[in-house]
C-alpha cells in the first residue's frame, strides 16, 4: 500500500476523494476497511489459506475450511467507487482483453498487474480460484484464466441454465442432483487445498450463521417499503458488502442486528410505516449499479427521485431459508443457486417486478442496460413495455457500464433522467 501511495500518488488522492463521496457511516466505513485489511493480512499469513470465489458462489464451503474469501469483484467495486477504474481497464485491454468484456474482470486484471492494492481493485494472490456460472457466464472463463495466469488450482461449478417459473419441478430436482454431486467434488478439492478434513458439523454451523445473516439483511431491506424508505441505493450497494462477501459472519450478524434494532425503534416491528414524508419519486433500479457515478444518485436525490428497491441488492443474501440437516442443506443451496431471481422466465420476471412495484410504492423504474453484461440486459424492452402497460408508470432504459466510466456520458444520462422525471411529474399532475 505504501509503495502504491508513493508510486501512484495522484490515483491514490483521486481514489480517496471518490471514497469520501460515498454515503458511508463510520460503521460502514469500518466494515469496508476491515475487509480490505483482512484480505491483505490473510494473504500475508502463511498459515491461512485464501481462495477466490465469484459472486453467487457458495462461499460457506470455503468458510467451513477456514479459507479466507478473496473477492476480485468486490475489489473491482471498491475501485469503481473510488473512480479509478479507467487505467486498470486500459491496462487489461492493452494485454488483448476486448473492450466488450466485463469491466470487473478488466479492472481486476489491470489493477493486479499494475500492483495496485485491493482497495483500488488489485487482488492479493489467492491460493486457488473457484467460480460458478450461476449469475454470470464470464465467471467460469475469467477465473479459469486467472488460475492459469497465476499458476494456482481452479475448481468450476457448472450450474444448469434453468428457466425458473415454468412449474416443471422435475427438471429442477434433476438439476439439484447434478449440482449436489459437484458439491462433493468441491469438498474434495477444498480438502486437498487446505490439507484439512471436511466437517459437516462445522459446515452446518457456518450455514446457520449465513442463514441468520441473510435473514437479517432481508428484514432490513423490507424496511425500505416504509415512507420514507430511509435507505437508498447509493448506501444499499455498499451496505450489502458483508452479506455478499461473508468474510466475517459473526461481525456481519452483529452489524445487521444493530441496524435492524435501529429500524425497529424508528418504524416499529412491522414495515411498512408511513411517517408522512414520502419521497417525491420512489424508484426501482434493475441491474448492477454504476459504481463510479454515485453523483448520479445524489443528483437524482436533489430532484426528489430516490431508489428504494433494486433487484440487484435483493439478489444477495439468498440463504434465507433455514435448514437443519446436511443433505437438506446441500439441496437447498443447490436450489438457491439454480433458481436466482435472474433465472425467472420473462413472464414471471415481469410479474415479480410488478409485485415489487406495488410493495415498494414505486413511481418509476430504471433498467440499467449494462454494456459489460449484455445477457443481463436481454429482454429489457419487453419488461419496459409490459410494466408501462400494466402499471402505467414510466420505465427508462439507461445505457451505461457498471465499472467502465468510458461508457458513461453525463449529459446524455442527465437528459434522459430529466425527461423521465418530467414524465413522472406529468403523471402526478
Amino acid at each position: 500500500m505504501l509503495q502504491f501511495l508513493l508510486r501512484e500518488r495522484k490515483t491514490a488522492i483521486d481514489g480517496l476523494k471518490g471514497f469520501k463521496k460515498q454515503p458511508l457511516t463510520p460503521k460502514l466505513f469500518g466494515v469496508m476497511a476491515e475487509y480490505t485489511t483482512k484480505s491483505k493480512l490473510a494473504h500475508l499469513n502463511p498459515w491461512r489459506k485464501t481462495g477466490s470465489p465469484t459472486a453467487g458462489f457458495p462461499i460457506e464451503f470455503l468458510l467451513a475450511f477456514d479459507i479466507f474469501p478473496i473477492h476480485p469483484e468486490a475489489y473491482a467495486c471498491y475501485a469503481g467507487s473510488a473512480g479509478v477504474t479507467r487505467r486498470p481497464i486500459e491496462e487489461a485491454e492493452s494485454q488483448g482483453y476486448s473492450r466488450d468484456l466485463c469491466s470487473y474482470m478488466k479492472t481486476s486484471i489491470g489493477a493486479t498487474d499494475m500492483g495496485w492494492p485491493c482497495d483500488f481493485g488489485g487482488v492479493p494472490q489467492p491460493d486457488f480460484y473457484v467460480s460458478a456460472n450461476a449469475v454470470c457466464d464470464t465467471h467460469i472463463k475469467w477465473f479459469e484464466n486467472e488460475a492459469r495466469r497465476h499458476g494456482v488450482p481452479y475448481f468450476g461449478l457448472d450450474i444448469p441454465s434453468h428457466v425458473a417459473g415454468r412449474g416443471d419441478d422435475q427438471d429442477l430436482e434433476r438439476e439439484i442432483d447434478y449440482v449436489v454431486a459437484q458439491f462433493f467434488d468441491l469438498i474434495a478439492f477444498l480438502e486437498k487445498q487446505s490439507g484439512k478434513k471436511f466437517s459437516e458439523e462445522k459446515f452446518m454451523r457456518v450455514i446457520g450463521k449465513s442463514q441468520e445473516a441473510c435473514a437479517l439483511y432481508h428484514e432490513i431491506l423490507a424496511y425500505r417499503r416504509c415512507l420514507p424508505a430511509g435507505q437508498y441505493f447509493e448506501f444499499q450497494r455498499l451496505f450489502m458488502l458483508p452479506v455478499a462477501v461473508m468474510w466475517n459472519l459473526d461481525g456481519c450478524i452483529a452489524y445487521y442486528r444493530r441496524v435492524l434494532a435501529e429500524l425497529r425503534r424508528r418504524y416499529g416491528d412491522t414495515p411498512p410505516t408511513d411517517l408522512g414524508s414520502r419521497e417525491k419519486y420512489r424508484l426501482m433500479w434493475e441491474g448492477i449499479t454504476i459504481w463510479y457515478k454515485v453523483d448520479l444518485y445524489y443528483w437524482l436525490a436533489e430532484k426528489g427521485a430516490r431508489f428504494v428497491y433494486e433487484q440487484y441488492t435483493d439478489s444477495f443474501g439468498i440463504r434465507r431459508r433455514r435448514t437443519t440437516t446436511f443433505p437438506e442443506t446441500l439441496r437447498q443451496i443447490a436450489s438457491e443457486i439454480i433458481t436466482l431471481p435472474y433465472t425467472l422466465n420473462l413472464e414471471k420476471r415481469i410479474a415479480w417486478m410488478e409485485q415489487k412495484i406495488d410493495e415498494y410504492d414505486i413511481d418509476g423504474v430504471v433498467l440499467h442496460a449494462n454494456l459489460s453484461c449484455r445477457p443481463a440486459a436481454a429482454a429489457q424492452q419487453d419488461v419496459k413495455n409490459a410494466i408501462q402497460k400494466s402499471k402505467g408508470i414510466p420505465v427508462l432504459i439507461l445505457s451505461a457500464d457498471m465499472d467502465d466510466p468510458r461508457s458513461y456520458s453525463d449529459e446524455q444520462v442527465r437528459t434522459r433522467c430529466e425527461s423521465f422525471i418530467e414524465m413522472m411529474e406529468a403523471r402526478k399532475g
Binding site: 437528459t415 430529466e418 425527461s419
Partner: protein, 253 residues
C-alpha cells in the same frame, strides 16, 4: 405577455417568440464553441429586432443540451418535453415524433392528449444523427441542402452496412473509388439512417399520425426513406427545425 423559447442544440441554437400563444418570430444560429455567448447574442438580437423590453417577457424556457447555461430561464425543460409541446402547437393530434438533431436522434410517443408516454434516444453513438450526415456530406463534397434532392434521383441505393460514422465514411470513400454514382451513395446513407431509426422505433411500436422534427427533417431523402420503410406518411411542420424552441416558448406561455 411575450413567451420565449431557447433551444441550444449541439449544432444550432434556436429561438422562438410567442405572444398569447401565437408564434411571432423564430431564428437559428450556429451554436459554436461558446454556448453562453451564442444564446446571449441571439437573445439580444431578437429583443432588438422585436423591440422587446425585459418587462414585456413573461417567461423564458430553455431546452437542448445547453439549457442549463441560460441563467435568465424561468424554467429549464428537456428536449423531449419541448418537442412534444412544439408538435402539440404545430400539428396537434400527432402521436409519434421522429426528431433527428445534430447529435441525438429521438423517437417520442404521445398519448391522445399529446402528453409524452415514452421516448427513445440513440445511445453512445452519432450514427443516425445530423452529425453522421455532415460527415458523409463532407466525404461526398456535397452540402446538406443538396443531399435530399440528390438521393431522390438515385437509381438504386448503395449498401452502407456500417453503423459507425467513421467506418461508414470509409465505406463511402470505398464506394466512390469503385465508381458508384454519388446519388446512389447518398440514397444508401439515407437508408442507413432510416434503418437505424426504424430499429429504434420498432422496439416500442409506431402510432400514427407521425411527424418529423429537427434539422434533418428538411432532408426529403431521409423522410422518403423512412416513409418507405415504415409504410406510412410522415408530416413535417413548417417549423420542424425550430420545433424544440417553439415547444419551449409554448411552455413559457
Amino acid at each position: 405577455m411575450i413567451a420565449i423559447g431557447l433551444d441550444i442544440g449541439s449544432t444550432t441554437t434556436k429561438i422562438a417568440v410567442m405572444e398569447e400563444r401565437k408564434l411571432l418570430y423564430t431564428e437559428i444560429v450556429p451554436t459554436g464553441y461558446n454556448v453562453e455567448k451564442t444564446w446571449k447574442e441571439l437573445f439580444a438580437a431578437t429583443r432588438e429586432r422585436l423591440n422587446l423590453e425585459m418587462e414585456m417577457i413573461g417567461g423564458i424556457v430553455s431546452t437542448g443540451y445547453g439549457r442549463n447555461s441560460v441563467d435568465i430561464a424561468t424554467r429549464r425543460v428537456t428536449e423531449i418535453m419541448c418537442h412534444a409541446a412544439g408538435i402539440r402547437y404545430s400539428l396537434p393530434g400527432t402521436r409519434s415524433i421522429i426528431d433527428i438533431g445534430g447529435q441525438d436522434s429521438k423517437f417520442i410517443q404521445l398519448g391522445e392528449t399529446g402528453e409524452v408516454t415514452d421516448f427513445k434516444m440513440n445511445d453512445k453513438c452519432a450514427a443516425g444523427t445530423g452529425r453522421f450526415l455532415e460527415v458523409m456530406a463532407r466525404a461526398l463534397e456535397s452540402n446538406l441542402e443538396d443531399f435530399g434532392k440528390l438521393s431522390l434521383v438515385a437509381e438504386k441505393a448503395a449498401r452502407i452496412s456500417s453503423m459507425c460514422t467513421v467506418f461508414a465514411e470509409s465505406e463511402v470513400i470505398s464506394l466512390i473509388a469503385k465508381g458508384e454514382a454519388r446519388e446512389n451513395i447518398i440514397a444508401g446513407i439515407h437508408d442507413s439512417i432510416a434503418n437505424r431509426m426504424v430499429s429504434m422505433m420498432g422496439r416500442s411500436g409506431v402510432v400514427t399520425p407521425v411527424a418529423m422534427t429537427g434539422g434533418v427533417a428538411r432532408n426529403e431523402g431521409i423522410r422518403s426513406a423512412l416513409e418507405k420503410k415504415l409504410g406510412i406518411s410522415i408530416e413535417v411542420p413548417a417549423t420542424a427545425q425550430v420545433n424544440g424552441a417553439v415547444g419551449a416558448a409554448s411552455l413559457a406561455s
